[in-house]
Amino acid sequence: MNNTFNLVWLIPTLPLLGFLINGLGRKSLSKSASGLIGSAVVLGSFIISIMTFIQVKQGHTGVIHFFDFLRVSGLKVAFSFQIDQLSSLFLLIITGVGFLIHVYSTAYMHDEEGKDFAKYFAYLNLFVFSMLLLVMGGNFLILFVGWEGVGLCSYLLIGYWYENNNYTDAAKKAFVMNRIGDLGFLLALFWLISKTGSMEYSQVLNAASLAKLTTFDITGITLLMFVGATGKSAQIPLFTWLPDAMAGPTPVSALIHAATMVTAGIYLIARSNILFSSALITQQVITIIGLATAFLAASIALKQNDIKKILAYSTVSQLGFMFLALGTGNYVAAVFHVLTHAFFKALMFLGSGSVIHAMGGEQDIRNMGGLHKHMKVTSITFLIGCLAISGIPGFSGFFSKDEILAGAFGYNTIIYGVALFTALMTAFYMFRLYIITFTGKFRGTHDQEHHLHESPAAMTIPLIILAILSIIGGYIGIPEVLGGHHELAHYLSPIIPTAHHSLSHQTELMLMGLSTALVLGAITFAWIRFRNFKAEQSNGGLSSFLENKWYVDECYEWIIVRPIKKASSLFQHILENRIIDGSVNGVGKLVNYGSRQLRWLQSGQVGAYVLLMVLGMLLLFVIQFFVS
C-alpha cells in the first residue's frame, strides 16, 4: 500500500459511518445532531479528498488493495480503490457539492419530524458512500456495487414521502428503468470477464488486453455498457424516470439527479475510454442518442410549467450534451461539462428549492412572478446559474459547452447545427423560467405573497458558494485559443489521451462568436416574449405536443406496458388458472375421491376383515399353484 494514500479508506467509510449512526439512532437523535453528523462526515470526506487531490496533482497515483473481494476458479476480484486523476476529480465533485447540499438540507428539511429527518440524512449519507465506491473502485465489480447502491438510494429518496402514492410510483419507475440499464451493464461485465479473464482496470483497460478482443467483442461490450449508461444517466430510451424523480425532496434532486448519480454513466465511459475509442459503431450510436436526447429534452423543457420539471428536462438535455461529447471522442469535454454542470445545475436546483420553500410548496411557475424583490440572493444566484448554463462568455458553462460544440463541429456539421440549436433552446427555456419566476408581478395568492421571504443562511450560503463556482469553475479549462492552457486536459491526460484538435483557431473563435451571438439573441427573444407574462392557455398543435412530453410515456404505455399486461392476464387465465391450478387441484380431487371409495373397505365389521383375509389366502394359493 502506498503511504501517500493511507487516509483514503476514510473517504467512503465516513459517510457509511454517518449512515449507520443516523440510521440506527434515528429515533433518539435530535434534528440538529443528525444534521450535524450527516454534514460533518461528508465534510471529513471532502477534506481528505482535497488532500488526495493534491497528492494526485503532484503525480502520485495508485491502486490501493485492501482484500480479495471474490476468488472463484481463476477469477480474482480485489477490493481495491483506484486513485488517479479521473477518480480524484469526481471525488471532489461528489464530496464538495454533496457537503453543500447536506448543509442546505438541514434548513430545507427542517419541517420534517425528527426520525424522518434522521432517515433522510441516513439515506443521503448512504448515497454519498455508494457514489464514492462507484468512482473509487479499482475494478468494474466495485463500480457495479456502487452503481447498484446509488440506484437503491435514488429509489429510497425519490419515495421519501412515501405516503404519497404518486411519489412511490415515481420511485418504482426510476428503479425499474435503472434495472433495465443495469442488466445491460452486467452482461457487458460478463462478456468482458469471459474474454479477458479480469475486471481490474489496470489489467483490462490497456492495449494488451484490447488485443485479445475482436471488433465484435468490443462493439458488443461497449454497446451493453452504454445501455447501462442510458439507464443511469437518463438517455433515450430510458430517460423518462428522471423527470418523475423530481418527486423527491429538492436537495435530493440537486445531488442525485443533477450533480452526481446521473453522471455515473459518463464516468463509466470516460473511465473505459480506451474501449470506446476502438468501437466506432458504438461511438456513432452514443453521438446520435446523446444528440437526440439533448434535443428532445430541451424541446420538452420549453413548455413545462413545473419549476423542477424544467430543470429535470434541462438535466436530461445537458447529459445528452455530455454523451454527444463522449461519442465524438471528446472525453475531456464531457468530464469538464460534468464538473461545470454539477455546479450550475446544483445551484439552480437549490435555488428552485429556495423558491419552493418560500412559496410554501408551490412549484408551478405560472403562480410565481416578481420574486426578485423578495429573495434577492436566490434570484441573483439563480441568474448566474442561468447565464452559466446558457453559455455566456465568462461563465463556466461557456467553456465546457463550447468545447463540446467545437468537437461536434469537427465531427459533423449537421450534428453541430442540431447541437447549437439545442443550446439556443437551453438559453431560451432557462430564461423563460427566470423571467416568469423572478420578474414581473406576483401571480400567486395573497397568503403566499405575505409569506414570501428569503431563505435562511444555511440555504443561501451554499447557493452563494455554488454561484461563485459556477462562474470560476470554467477557468480550469480555458482553451488555447483564448490564451489558456486547458489545465483540465493536462491534468486528465494520463487517463484520457488528449484529442488532437483539427480546427484552426479562426474557426474556433468564429464558432464561439456565433454561438454567443445566437444565445444572446435567444435570451432577448425570451425577454420580449415573457416580459409581460400572463398564465396563457396552451394553443394546441406543436406546443401541446411538447407540453405532453412528446407522448413518450404514452408510447411506452402502449408499446410495452399494455402488451405485457395483456399477455400476463392471458397467462393468468389460461396457464395459471387452468393448467397449473387445474393440475394441482386435480391431484387433490383425485386423492379425495379415491379415499372416499376406499373408505368403504374400512367398514369396522370384523367378519368382513376375516373374509378378506381368507380371500387373500386363497389368492396366494392360486398364485402359488397356477402361476409359478
Binding site: S603, G604, Q605, V606, G607, V610, L611, V614
Partner: protein, 110 residues
Amino acid sequence: MDIKAYITLSLVLFTIGIIGVLVRRNAIIIFLCVELMLNAVNLLLVAFSKMHALSPVAKASANFASDAQIFVFFIMVVAAAEVSVGLAIIVMMYRNVHTVDINFLNRLKN
C-alpha cells in the same frame, strides 16, 4: 394309517373353523373356531411328522423323528396362554358393552 385320512380330517376341521369365523357373530364361538383352525394345523403337523419319521433319512438320525411332536406340545402350551388372553379380552368386552356380538364393535370412536 394312510396320510390322506389325516389330511382330509384336518382340512375338514380347518374349513369348519374358517366358516365358523366367517358366519358366526358370537365372539366366543369365533374364538372356538380359531382354536379349531389352530388345532387342525397342529394335527397335520403331527401327521406329517409321523409319516416323515418312516423315511430312511430320518432313521439315520437319533432324535430327528421326534422334533415335530415336541413342537406340537409347545404350540399347545402357547395356545393355552393365548386362550387365557383371548378370554380375558372377551370378558372385558362384555363388561364394557354388555354383549359378545362382534358386529357391535364396528366403530373406533365412542
